[in-house]
Amino acid sequence: MTLEVVLVLAAALFSVGLYGALSQQVVVMVMMGLELMLNGVVLAAAGFWWFTAPDPSLQVLLVVVLAAMTVEMAMGFAVALLLHRTSGADMTDMAAELKQ
Amino acid sequence: MGEVVQVAAPWVLLAALLLGMAALGVAALDGALAARAACRPASVGAQHPLVETARLLRQRRRTTVAADTLLRHVAVGGFAVAPLLMVAVVPLGEWVLADASVGVVWFNAVDVLVWVLVWLAGWGPNAAWSLTGGYRFLAQAMAYELPLMFALTAPAVAAGSLRVGDVAGGQQGLPYVVWMPVAFLVYCVGVLAFSVRGPLSPAGGPVISSGVLAELSGVDRLLVLAGRAGLLVAGAAFAVPLFLGGGSGPLLPGWLWVLVKTALLTAALVVVRRRLPDVRPERFLALGWTVLLPAALLQLLVVSVVVVVRS
């Protein structure tokens, strides 16, 4: 196994996530897409760690990514709830209309 | 106590056998206590698990309209596997199935898996009582999970390792339960909660017609019941290396001490479970966030200070 294999798999995960984030209408599904993208980042970072750097910095980066995921989820849910409560909107299109 | 040795994979069968027998024991003790409460011979109650097993093996499985059968199977199978995943990192004397370097976190991950299993078991049948049970479990889950996490952290901090064998070895002469009793109690509450039965059983219980169990029959039901008892046993077994000094003890060999301590703690949990009424999730939420969590954090602070001072 080479680093390239891991990275290509990570790129595939990232791209699938990108597709989800761009194509989905419902806020929660968009968040799933974002999570999947970060999932790819996690895999890539682990691959880098194994193949190139014995430095713990990459591990720290992984912890930061995990924290970012958590924050993204929590804030995403909170905003989705707020939108839902105020306007009954649960679609990104509707949320866009709110801006106008 | 010497180093822990990782044994070959086939020993998992022995672990499964032990767990299964312990689960039967839990049900037998529960049955005996119930019989005694009703002034009936305890021996009749103690036979309950065998009778119930025969009954459920004979019973047919049924499905409901528009059920998500795949997810239901995942949940039912998961209940049978989860306790095994938990005990995999528990050293039995000097042997362990998986000497994971992060065993404590592993245990924590598996007990979170129970969230998934309970919710899927509730979701699968597409029926009102099941679904309500699944949701009610999740509503309560965070309130026991966070305190449980910090309770698990305390022994790991004291031993300076996440490896279960190291934690057990770190309490020579003085089990952690002696100087971190709060963490131990919080941990026990967590075990009662993730073993999905009273008093912290929002997913089941008579008041919602046994909730996630309401639509299960035959082998499905048997597996979930066994898994539930198995989770209680696995929780008690994990407390042994974490709080109760692992296999250390006079006279008896280490593995036997682990079994004895596990059995005693399991029995205590079963008795407690019978003596308390079901606590409603909204009540427990308040308790979990305002009492258990601060208590666990304080305990962790005390442990950390002790560790720093001692080094």
Partner: protein
Amino acid sequence: MSLAFNELSSVVLETPLPDLSVLRGVAVTALGVVAVVTGALVFRVDSMARATYLLAASFVAVGAAVVALHLDYVGVVVVLMMLMEMAVMGVFMVMLMGMNPALMPMSMVHSGRRALAAAGTSFVVLTVGILLVDWPTRPDAPPSDPGATTYSLGDALMGDHMLVMMVVSPVMLATIVAGVVLAQAHGRYERLGDDLRGTSRQGGRR
């Protein structure tokens, strides 16, 4: 755990252990493929519950791959956190999708073609980049003791990279507070009255 895996395969195959790195390579690749497939299925299935838990499966596969790369702590934490998050996410899915989840075919796609094109482009660009770049290789052998890597992570977080810890912690706390404030409709004073006992509350239905 990767050791356990080795033992298991050696027993199953009844052959001497093959080269560790080969086995590890196969395991990581297979887990990566599982992660991609389950991840893609998230956007293909009709059921909200299945979509959520397919995503969870994708994360579990990546977590296992990370463990196989001897990052035990990070890998198990990925599994732990993501199972928890997905359990919660399932509830939000059901709550916010506004339709019967288990039963109804759902296609929630807008601008599907554009998104597909963007995703495809990103994959091609990334792959080409990955294959063209001459990646450095580490001089020493890969780490052999996952316990040591966990220790080095803790050492880094509490030493050289203390700043990360000090930033992440308040951000997390702020997230908790902000999340609760945003999501809550009525504070407890509003619900229970000034004395928080519910006696002066005018709520209910009369």
